[in-house]
Symmetry: D2
Subunit: 290 residues, 4 copies
Amino acid sequence: MTTSLGDRDATTEWVLTLSCPDRPGIVHAVAGVLADHDGNITESQQFGDPASGLFFMRVQVEARAGRAELEAALSPVTEQFGMTWELDVVGRRLRTLVLVSKAPHCLVDLLYRERYQDMPVDVVGVVGNHADLADMAAFYGKPFHHVPVTAATKAAAEDRLRDLVAELDVELVVLARYMQILSDGLCRDLQGRVINIHHSFLPSFKGARPYAQAHDRGVKLIGATSHYVTGDLDEGPIIEQDVERVDHSRAVADLVALGEDVERRTLARAVRWHAEHRVLLDGHRTVVFR
Amino acid sequence: MTTSLGDRDATTEWVLTLSCPDRPGIVHAVAGVLADHDGNITESQQFGDPASGLFFMRVQVEARAGRAELEAALSPVTEQFGMTWELDVVGRRLRTLVLVSKAPHCLVDLLYRERYQDMPVDVVGVVGNHADLADMAAFYGKPFHHVPVTAATKAAAEDRLRDLVAELDVELVVLARYMQILSDGLCRDLQGRVINIHHSFLPSFKGARPYAQAHDRGVKLIGATSHYVTGDLDEGPIIEQDVERVDHSRAVADLVALGEDVERRTLARAVRWHAEHRVLLDGHRTVVFR
Amino acid sequence: MTTSLGDRDATTEWVLTLSCPDRPGIVHAVAGVLADHDGNITESQQFGDPASGLFFMRVQVEARAGRAELEAALSPVTEQFGMTWELDVVGRRLRTLVLVSKAPHCLVDLLYRERYQDMPVDVVGVVGNHADLADMAAFYGKPFHHVPVTAATKAAAEDRLRDLVAELDVELVVLARYMQILSDGLCRDLQGRVINIHHSFLPSFKGARPYAQAHDRGVKLIGATSHYVTGDLDEGPIIEQDVERVDHSRAVADLVALGEDVERRTLARAVRWHAEHRVLLDGHRTVVFR
Amino acid sequence: MTTSLGDRDATTEWVLTLSCPDRPGIVHAVAGVLADHDGNITESQQFGDPASGLFFMRVQVEARAGRAELEAALSPVTEQFGMTWELDVVGRRLRTLVLVSKAPHCLVDLLYRERYQDMPVDVVGVVGNHADLADMAAFYGKPFHHVPVTAATKAAAEDRLRDLVAELDVELVVLARYMQILSDGLCRDLQGRVINIHHSFLPSFKGARPYAQAHDRGVKLIGATSHYVTGDLDEGPIIEQDVERVDHSRAVADLVALGEDVERRTLARAVRWHAEHRVLLDGHRTVVFR
């Protein structure tokens, strides 16, 4: 996951994210390194979580220094404070694999935003357990991989996914209404790199057919939740949620159609924030520096 | 629950609500009765629920006819179609009893809206199992009844509630963050006449301390639900729901404070719509003609 | 604009919309005709506007009667009350022409919704004064007409538009971020059949570059307005408006990108409601029976 | 505007806000001072505005240092960078004067939030050009000053306001639907310390009777704007805006009632953010660190 982008002499805008146990002096130490390299901070946010005792920071900085130079300068500080950290170039596109089944709304939206709205992802492939969306992928110039999944082929299908992730140097996997459940092993291996959209306002209506459940319960708002995938289905850290108002006159099919709008915009925000390094993990919660 | 209001010769604006098994001719039959009395329909909504097979109607009509005359004219139609129905004068204030504990936000809002915003309720009393809000009730000129509840006195306290409902001719009971659970018997006796505000987006986070649960789960929206009370706690028909956006920086106490705003506006809408005869029961769902 | 759809013996679901001066008996008269044909009303809304003195009604009804039979039966009533009215089959797709320039977001969204979400439009062609979106139209199988507009060719371009409207039997024209101003004459001729999306919360920021104006003013919400086009630019009857929250950190380009989401969903709602016959004109205001 | 609060040996949580021309090293310099005093940063946000070339910072820090010590330590840095800055104790209540006329909704909400929701204001008095709200002020234990305004007495009334501001050591003046226009001179003298609520989504519907204007234009959303008052009426820097959905069935009186809810919550947010030192001026725009 290296990039030569930014490793040059001209000014580059860097984004640094970090977390560590909270104690005095963190901001000063980090800002000191940046100041030593004539870095100009353009945007910065910090947060100390009293519950977890962790401190989180995201800073965008313009500097002439290259990656190697900055990393070397930051290393002592990150070691001193026990930081988990990442340095990237602002706007670099994350190599992304999108998994789909038959429903087109999330895929359409992601590909549209990549092409037309500068969402910093580079969709390097689309995987479908059905072939319905192959033409959509083709229109946007994306390789489509048809990987059917049955009880008998599930293990082989996951191997194929692992191969694609490796071959394509994938940094992010997006489950864009992919209707298969990933195995625990795969979830663990890709921890923090898989984003799902759940068609409900979690923790309401977990599991199957949430819109039918919502209709039956007579709710007045339907929602969607985008979250990181962990082995614990529907329980990964939540990145974003949104809702849409409905009323008694809506049948289940109407809820599904209205829900598609909430799902696609909720997923699109989560993917964008992740790709912009705005989402940090705080145990099973997320810190989102919007 | 009789009223002489509208029983006069001048024009009155009536509101008629009804439900019955769906079949052709209902609207024509009802509109025929109204037309026969030179009624001028000013607002009307109908809905047929394919799931339950029931038809719902709410109509506001200006007419010179009095209650007795209208009821007599409507009776054959309501019998023919097997209707559940109600006729009231638009704007008549519903005799309302508000139950509270210590949290003031819902009570403050209801009393403010009654006095200043023409919400069609007449709060005939406030009952508190604590005395904290007695001064607030007094400021708005409302009798305050302190009815403490302990395990030992719970039955007696409910008797006191029943007495108050009877003595004060109460049509609607509002649980304005009343932290006691009503017995099944009382719920049944007051079925359809008790509105609760639950400090969560049901069916998420049922039961106790929902904001602590929401914080622990790291949700990005918190919500509130106003519903009719049935014996099945937190499961009565939902009238209205709303949400507020939160982020990682919010502690549980912040969620509680932000939640108060959602709770009071959600409850206020539910009470207003009920008092305006806009809420009809469709099994354990509601039809809300806004 | 005739259709044989529904002119058959089996049950058809009809949608009838009408407006007329308000007086007693309208609903009864209309419902009577429908009852005479064993029509089963599935959804109905009425509204009397005290300001304009007009009455509006939209009713969906299942009936075995064909168009000719229903129209003949309704005629005496519509004449008696001086009604403007329209009868259509529920779900019939409106023949629609979409006009675009370079911005793709609204076109992408409309074509997606037509294909995948059952929005009842049949986009019979896409006209662009630039050719940028020809490939998008082609992907969705839509004929693309490149009609460049310069000061010299404006009149000829409008003639081409008129021809297309006539040849393609167009019922609705959607200006999907079409950056040319239609002449007064064309606006008049297509009155009530042209829907525009304005990239601002009208009446704020009329005219050019509204996002730059909004940024300069430091607003905290940006919005979009979908309205019928009249000769009076930015002043036609409003169908739908929506907003998105922004903050100080957003540059003009960010507002534009965020605005695209508001624009496309606002336009999509307006087009859907129009195509479902939910929008009635009340002077320069609209009645929207959602 | 001095306070002894926090001038003690135990740990105090301070909030520091500053703005200055943007250049490298600001964060490092400020964080260095805080680190030198063992300050623990609990919350911090920075923003560099490319349009104005200004840098803004808000930092909350726990420290044992007192005010004098911190101010002395910060002075060299603030001079070096040409900073406008302010240091306060987190949660200190701002001495606030509320001006009202007859409408109660904003006053009720502010007093409720002060008493029950820990909004960090200390309402030291309520001024009304009418006496209608004297009882409300009294209930919350606030001195009410009846200062009628006519053409003849306007100058004297403003003198009375100036006296009250001086005598009561007022830091913030809130125009809570105060229907008199302050003179240019008073606006200038209190610049940055007066917050108004305008009953419209500015810049739509400036001036009088905005809800009647909104109804006439047939808008689908109504809004409110809270802004700092400058001599240029309805044109001061915007702090917060919000909207509420309306439809065709709403008369002007309904818009007014619905608008009251938007107004009070919009004003409450603006006052809270101001009192928490979250609002910084960036020319005629605001930076709001929420």
